[in-house]
Structures are given as C-alpha cells and as structure tokens.
Symmetry: C2
Subunit: 555 residues, 2 copies
C-alpha cells in the first residue's frame, strides 16, 4: 500500500464518497482522474429525530463547487430519492449534464419541474447499451434488478483499470418486468478484470437471498383472491413494480385498481406514460369509482406504508380521508418494511386500522413485502461473478459496510484489498500503490423551507432545547438616568409551563426579577443576573431548564 | 349479553383497565365489587417522540382518587418499570398497602427511597402460596416465568366467579432459576373453572413458542468461550436472569464478571442481597479490575442495550467511558431486542462500536436475546390449560389485543365471550349478563421534572412548534399619549434562523414591524397586525412558521 517512491508527479485516480457511506441515504460518489470528475447519483436523506423542522438532508458538495471546472456530469443509477433527490439543490451550484435511463429521468424531470429548474438543466438519456466518454473515462452500463425498473450499474474504464459501481440491486430470478440483473455482462466484466468493485451494503445484515418478487406476487394473489371486500395496499410511491404486481393480480381476479396519494398518482402516471407500467386496459379507477363500485371489485394502491402523517393510508386510518372510509370487510396490506425510525408511526397506523375493524396484513406476521436490495447471498454472488481485485462497500451505515467487507473477505479478497471508508475519505489510486489517508470536505447540508444550509448545530441545539423545556423571555425597561424600572418586568413564556394555569409560578418568577433589579443597576449586570436567577428559580420550582432570554433596555 | 331485566339493584363486578390496554406500558388494572377495589400493578411508560421534555408517563388515576375509600391495595405481579414505576406518583394520592413478592418489593423499595417515600408506604410481602382476603375477594397466586424472577399471576375468587390475571409470562422449559411456570396450578384452576382470563398480549404478533433461556445460554456460551479478549454484554438493567446466565457461563470458562451502569449495579446488588442472584464466590469485579485484568479473563455486563444516551455502553461506544476503552479484540453482545422507537439510537451505538474495531453480536444476525413474553404458542397453551369462559387480552397495543383475541377465538372461545377493550372502558359483570359500554376517566399523565400532570396538550403543541420553527418575540414600547415608538422594535429569535448570520433578514423583519407601526396605533391592533405581518414575512422569506409573540406596551 505504501508507495515505494515519491509520486507527486504521477496522475492518480481518486474515489471520494460525498454521501451514503456510514449513514443511510444521500448517495453521491465522486470518481476523479486528472482534470475529470464524474459523479454517480445525488441523493437526499430524510432528517433524523434530532433535526426538528428540517425537511431534507443533502450532501455537502463544497468539494465539487471548488472543482467545478473538472466536473463533467452526474450519472444516475436509478430513480429513488436517495439517489436523485439532491439534484435540484446541487445543479444550481454546478450545472453539468445529468445522465439517466428513461424512467429515472422521468422522475428527475418531475422534481426539477416542482422547483422550476427544468429548462435550465441538461438531461441526457442513456440505456444499458450506451457508451459514454469523459476525458480519461470510458463509461458503460449493466442492467440491474431493483424495486424500481430501469436501474443500472456503471462501469468506468480508467487509466488505473476498470471500476464497477453497483448501486442498489438484487438477483431476482423472476422480476416483475422480466428483466433480470445482467449476470452474463457482470461475468464478462469480471473475466475482463475489475480492479475496484463498489457495491450496495444495505442488506448485508440479512441472511440468505432476497426472495423473488414472484414469491411475493403469490402471497398477494392469495390475499386478494380470498378478500371478501375491498383491498387497500400501501407501499412506497416509487415502487412502480409493486403497483404493476397489484394490477396483474387484480386483473386475474376480476378486480379493478385505483391509485391514491399524490406521489403515488404522479409516479404511476409518469411510469405508465413512459411504458414502465401497464395499466389495466380500461384504465385506473377514479376516486368516485373506488368508493361506489362493489367492494369485491376494488383494489386500491396508496401511500402511507411508513405511517407518514399526511399520507392517504394514515388519513384513512383516522377516518379523515374524504374519498374512502375503511371498515369491517376491508382488507389492508402494508407491502413495505419499516424504515428504521418509522416503527412507532407505523404501529399507530396499524392500531387505528385494527380499530376500524379491517383485516390487516403487515410484515410482523405475513410476508407481504420483499426488499429491493440483495441480501448476503446476493452480495456474495456478485463478488463471485466479478472477482474484483479491490472492494469498497458502499450504501450503508457503518456496521453494514463492515459486515459487507467481512463477507468479501470470507470469499478470498485479502483484508488489505478491502476499504471501509466513510463520507469524505479519499481512496487515491496510483499504478503501483493505494493511499487512503486523504479527506475532503463532506457532511450534511440541512434544508428547511427555502434555507439550504443555514440551519446548523446552533439552531438545532436551540430547537432541541426549546422542544424539551420551552423558553422564558423577561423584558425590563430601565430609566437611562435614574436606573428606575419604567417598563415591566414582563414575562413571556411558552413550552415551559401551562401559562394559563401557572399564574402563581410566573408571579414568583417576577419576584425573582424584582430581587435582581433591586440589587444591580448596570444593564449588563442586570441581564446576566436575571438569567442566572431565573434559571435557578425554574430548576428549583419545576426541575426544568427553559431557555431564558432577558431583554433589558434603557429608555 | 343484554340483561333480560333491570339490574340497577344488583351488585356487579367491574373490570376497568386504567393502563396498558391499547398502548404499551403503564399497566394498571382495576377490579371492583361493591365497596371493594383491588388494583393490579401501577406501571409507567416512557414518553413518545411527540412528547418532548417529558420524563415519564403514568396512568390517570382520577377514578381511584374519586373512589379512594374503596381502594384496598395494589398487588404487583413483578418488578418491571411498566408494572411498578407509577407507584411513587400514585401512592401519595391513594396510600394503600402494596403487595408483592420479595424481589418485586426490593425493586419498589429502591424507587420509593429515591423519592423519599419509603417510610410512608405499607409494603406487604407475599409469595406464590399466599392467600389474601379483601372483602368479597379471595386472592391467590400462581408462579410465572418471565425475564425477571419472582413473577406471579393473580387469582381473584369473586362473587361472579374466578378471575385469572396473567401478567407478563412465558412457558420456559428451562428457566434460569429452574422455577417453571406453574402449569399444574393453572390446570387445576382451569378444572375448578375460570370465568375470566386476562392475559399478556405483548408477543401476540410472534409465531411459535418463545425460545428457552437455555437455548440462549448455549449461544452465549459459544460466543464467550471463543472470544479472544474481553466480553461486554449489554442488556436491560432489570434482566436479573440474564446477569445470572452470564455469571454461570463466565465461571465455566474461567472468566470473572463485572457489572457497570448505575441501574445495573443497583439491581444486581439488590438481587444478590435478596438471594435472587448468585454472584461468583469471589465476588464481582471492581472497575479497576475490569480494566487491568487480562482481557481474556473478563466479562462485563452493562446497561445501554437500547442506545440510551447516558448509559455505560453508549459512553463506551463514544470513547467517553472513563473505566474502559473498547477496541480491537473486544467482543460486544447486545442481549436485548429493540423497543420500538429506539432503533436509530441502537444503530448509532452499533456503528460506533464497529468503528472501534470490536466484534459485535446483535439481534440482526445472531440469536443473542430471547423475549420474556410468551409468543403465540405460549398464549395458546395458557388458554388451553385454563379453558376460560370469557377472555380479555391485556398488555398490548391495539393490534396485539386483536391478534390475541383472534387466537382465543381460534381455540373455540366464542367471539362474544372475548372483549377487546381499551383503557378506561369498563367490563361490568352481573350474574347473568355482561355490559361493556361504560367508561371511566383514564389517560396519560405526563411527568416533567417536578410537574406531575401540568404538561398537557397546549404545552406539548407549543414545544413541538418551537422545535420545528423556533420563535420570534418582537417588543415595542409606545408612548401612552402620543402613540410614538419609544422602545424598540426589538426582535429576539431562537430556533428560526441562525441569528448571528441573519442580520439582513432580521433587519427586514424590523422594516415589516415599522410598516405596521406606521399604520396602526391602538395597542391591540398593533399586536394583532404585527403577528400577521411577521408570520407572513417569515413564510415568504424562509417558508418557515416560527411562533410569533408580539409584546406591545404603553409607557
């Protein structure tokens, strides 16, 4: 690994993850050689619970902005949010061509249109047969199966050898669209020689092969064919393949299909337009038809599988969905697994659906979902096909990267040929050596409303503080000359105690303020001591620590 | 079910859940006949994520306070927080005797001592052979297996028949303390005739029998015997049996055991004193010994299995634990399953442990935990032994109650003999009829610091609002006579934008304030319009909705 001689003048190949390694989502991988940078994917992640008020999280692309003249383009592997969702925020900073398959670009177009960027962006269509050239890089593609159609892996032929970037994928012998992961091409690439394999670690904690979509379809078939009334199936809005499966099953059993939930409707319409979804010959149901057709003729596909508060299923579960009331005789299928952190919201939704008397199928007791990501045996098979010289696990939280690395080691890849790196760490590759000790700026950029990146640790800390204990603003006006109190003290408080029932407590707090005012007179002194005395009072009285803000003004 | 004649004068038996039915935790069941009320358990639950700042949640016992003269006592089934944790808050309101087994009372004593209530409370020791009389009720007990020793079920012989209250339990053929769930007694009770069975629904979503602790011990034995260095095992502090298992395994392999984490140390000490835990003959390790003994001789049991921020394991995972640094060669076992809602915290802890280079065993890939609750087959076996006439599923979220009810139905209990009720709903039983349409006051009481019940929906709503978007207080002082602005406008804001870098924005906000001040002059008008104008401004500028509080005073 260590260079035998100084290599300052040698051109090197650099692999730099700016997102997706060490935490889930916001995938963005940078490949660099000389004056060429090629990016793969630009995804978002959803905020963690310690980021209140934050809408989405995108990767920090300072490194790309600083090297903007080198960046030749973004290649997208598929159309999921964690792979395309940051484009609308990044492209205004680095406007380069974006390459993607037809369905992927369709989804990108929707996003860009929403943010009124569509006419400013250069979208370029590829398919799995495309060949692209970016300076020293020759790029080809490999078709992959995933839970959304039209996913590809990316082969980069570079001066240091071939790199295979396999994003989200699985080996499904019976995918919904019949298009298998292209094992022959993977094998051929392996035979040709792959220096680096980068591969999805999401399911490296899951034993076995990921079951086929066909197995799932059989389960859905059984449930739908036996259901006495309406069937309502919730899944991810991006899971076009699942929608197709439901349509297929429904048609076999004389049922009609409706789709509801804004993102589900948009995605379904777009996928149908582009030919990635075959709707029933007589079309999808209108909201009215969903409600008024005989229940045993209806299947509805909707959003809400994660218990998202404003989704169609959650509104149905609360009886707040105008078009549809769930009740006894209805069958609900949650065809998704919980994204960690969403469990409680999902459980609440399930409980409410049970209260309505419906029959519910969900992942605890029934196999009503299969993952779009390969499990340990899929990951092994890929490594065996490709036989890479070096390996970098990508797409996963740290433990998942480690488990994937161990899997690779168990298949004979030497430990020092496997790099467990995280966002911002650089793998620098020369002809004869590899360095892994460099880093570039990376991290999370928080988006809240129109603010991109303005919310940082200070504001988040304040928000968490306010959430826990609320605040107390005390306003005092002092006579500039006499120091006499001519305004206030006025106490404003929210989130600390229930103000309407805490008059005594707030009166006591005012007494504390008066005590301070009698002792100190410089404005600065008063503010500091008000802070200390009130903090002390609140803790003694309630064992709470509200944020305390004194406003002392001289008039 | 419907009474054939008016029954106003008949004495009735009432079953009233005040906690634990329809949501997880804070178990409290009320049995009432004539002028006698007997309570079983008084537990707490931990706050949900939409209750920021709340420490714990206890049941609303208004009904008990209103009927205080009838309440004869609390019977505790076992020593877990969700069964005993609310006592310290309830007993000051209704001071009645508390009955429990030795270990249970030991744990209760610890809690009461912390809150300086120990000398005011009447604790009465029972064992599984005890017989108690409370007016019309004769009470007996049945030994049950659970993840804490000394658990009991409660039999109430009442004028309307026998009621069997089976709290948390499982049928484990090889429990750690060798004391089996007393099937013979359950069978005998069944033969004698049980009118009502109330039974734990926690694992009604889990297929099969809950595996035996013996199977788990074999897994631990394999890991610990093969570990090259130290072994650190995290589990629930209340899981005395798991600590015993670790001690047993460690001794067989020439290792010594240390215990760390405040609650783990307290519980272990207490259990050892009372004879429920057999420590190694040469005692437990001191913190110094844990650190300096040869690693291959050391096993450490600690708190932190749920990723709790201040627990021993989490501090170790961050390198912030003074007594111990985890590194390569160490083996960490997370011997617990995630409580829903804790997944993310657990994942972060695992990721940090992996970063330290340790070998980690956790529930995704390894069977390093078994539940203390019976699964579907255990639940079935109980019903088959007891053959109850009526059944009420208890201890579970709504869907778990429903699934338990369906299980009972599948075993031949008629649907109209199974009552799915939630907290506050009354099952009223006469000789010839049963009503289920009554309700009593019930719900959640939030404890935040010294405040018990003062935090309600208003404060929580404010806290959530502040967490999402922060606040903006604008202060203006107007001359009482001229209406001229003589103070301010001053704007104080936190959690909305990063104040230090938002001078322009806040200057613009002041302009908005001036615009309003120039247009309106009555104090009331100014305040109202300031609110509207600033809310509007913040949304236009940032698409955020901070809490806006105008303070307009006349001087």
């Amino acid at each position: 690994m260590t260079p035998a001689f100084s290599t300052k003048t040698e051109k090197t190949f650099r692999i730099i993850p700016l997102g997706g390694l060490g935490e889930f989502g916001k995938n963005l991988m940078v490949y660099e050689y000389d004056d060429t940078i090629l990016c793969i994917d630009a995804g978002l992640m959803f905020p963690e619970e310690d980021m209140p008020g934050v809408d989405i999280v995108i990767p920090d692309v300072t490194y790309l902005v600083q090297n903007a003249d080198k960046v030749k383009g973004f290649i997208l592997t598929h159309g999921h949010e964690d792979h395309i969702g940051a484009l609308a925020y990044i492209l205004p900073q680095i406007n380069v061509p974006v390459y993607g398959t037809r369905l992927t670009l369709g989804l990108v177009r929707n996003k860009l249109r929403e943010r009124r960027l569509l006419d400013q962006v250069d979208l370029r269509l590829i398919d799995e047969h495309s060949k692209l050239e970016f300076g020293p890089f020759n790029v080809e593609f490999v078709h992959l199966c995933h839970s959304i159609p039209d996913a590809v892996g990316v082969v980069i032929r570079s001066p240091i050898g071939n790199v295979l970037h396999v994003s989200d994928f699985k080996f499904d012998p019976h995918p919904v669209d019949g298009r298998l992961t292209d094992e022959a091409k993977l094998k051929a690439l392996g035979d040709e020689g792959i220096r680096f394999l980068l591969s999805d670690s999401t399911n490296s904690e899951v034993i076995g092969f990921t079951p086929s979509e066909l197995e799932l379809e059989q389960v859905l078939e059984k449930i739908i064919s036996e259901a006495p009334g309406r069937v309502i199936l919730a899944t991810f809005a991006s899971n076009i393949s699942r929608v197709q499966q439901v349509i297929n099953v429904a048609m076999r059993h004389g049922r009609k299909v409706g789709v509801t939930g804004r993102s589900m409707i948009n995605n379904t319409r777009m996928a149908a337009e582009l030919g990635y979804l075959t709707p029933p010959p007589d079309g999808l149901l209108t909201p009215d038809q969903m409600n008024y057709l005989p229940p045993e003729q209806v299947v509805i596909v909707c959003t809400g599988s994660q218990g998202e508060p404003t989704s169609a299923l959650v509104r149905m579960s609360r009886g707040q969905y105008r078009h549809l009331r769930i009740g006894k005789g209805d069958t609900v299928i949650i065809s998704a697994s919980p994204i960690p952190g969403n469990e409680k919201m999902i459980h609440r939704t399930l409980d409410n659906l049970f209260r309505l008397g419906a029959d519910i199928y969900y992942d605890e007791l029934f196999d009503v979902h299969v993952s779009g990501h390969g499990s340990r045996e899929d990951l092994k098979r890929l490594i065996e096909l490709v036989q890479p010289e070096y390996m970098i696990p990508i797409h996963g939280e740290y433990r998942q990267l480690v488990l994937h690395a161990r899997l690779a080691k168990s298949l004979g890849i030497p430990e020092d040929h496997i790099f467990i790196i995280e966002d911002g760490q650089v793998v620098e590759v020369g002809k004869e050596w590899i360095f892994t000790d460099g880093t570039v700026t990376s991290g999370r950029v928080l988006v809240d409303g129109l603010g991109v990146g303005d919310i940082g640790s200070v504001v988040l800390r304040d928000r968490r503080h306010l959430a826990r204990d609320g605040f107390l603003v005390v306003t005092v006006g002092l006579d500039e000359e006499t120091g006499e109190v001519i305004l206030g003290p006025e106490i404003l408080s929210r989130g600390f105690v229930y103000v309407a029932e805490s008059e005594n407590l707030l009166d006591d707090a005012k007494e504390v303020v008066w005590d301070v005012l009698e002792t100190y007179d410089s404005v600065q002194d008063v503010a500091t001591h008000l802070h200390t005395a009130l903090a002390d009072f609140c803790y003694r009285a309630m064992r709470r620590r509200p944020m305390i803000l004194p406003l002392v003004v001289e008039l």
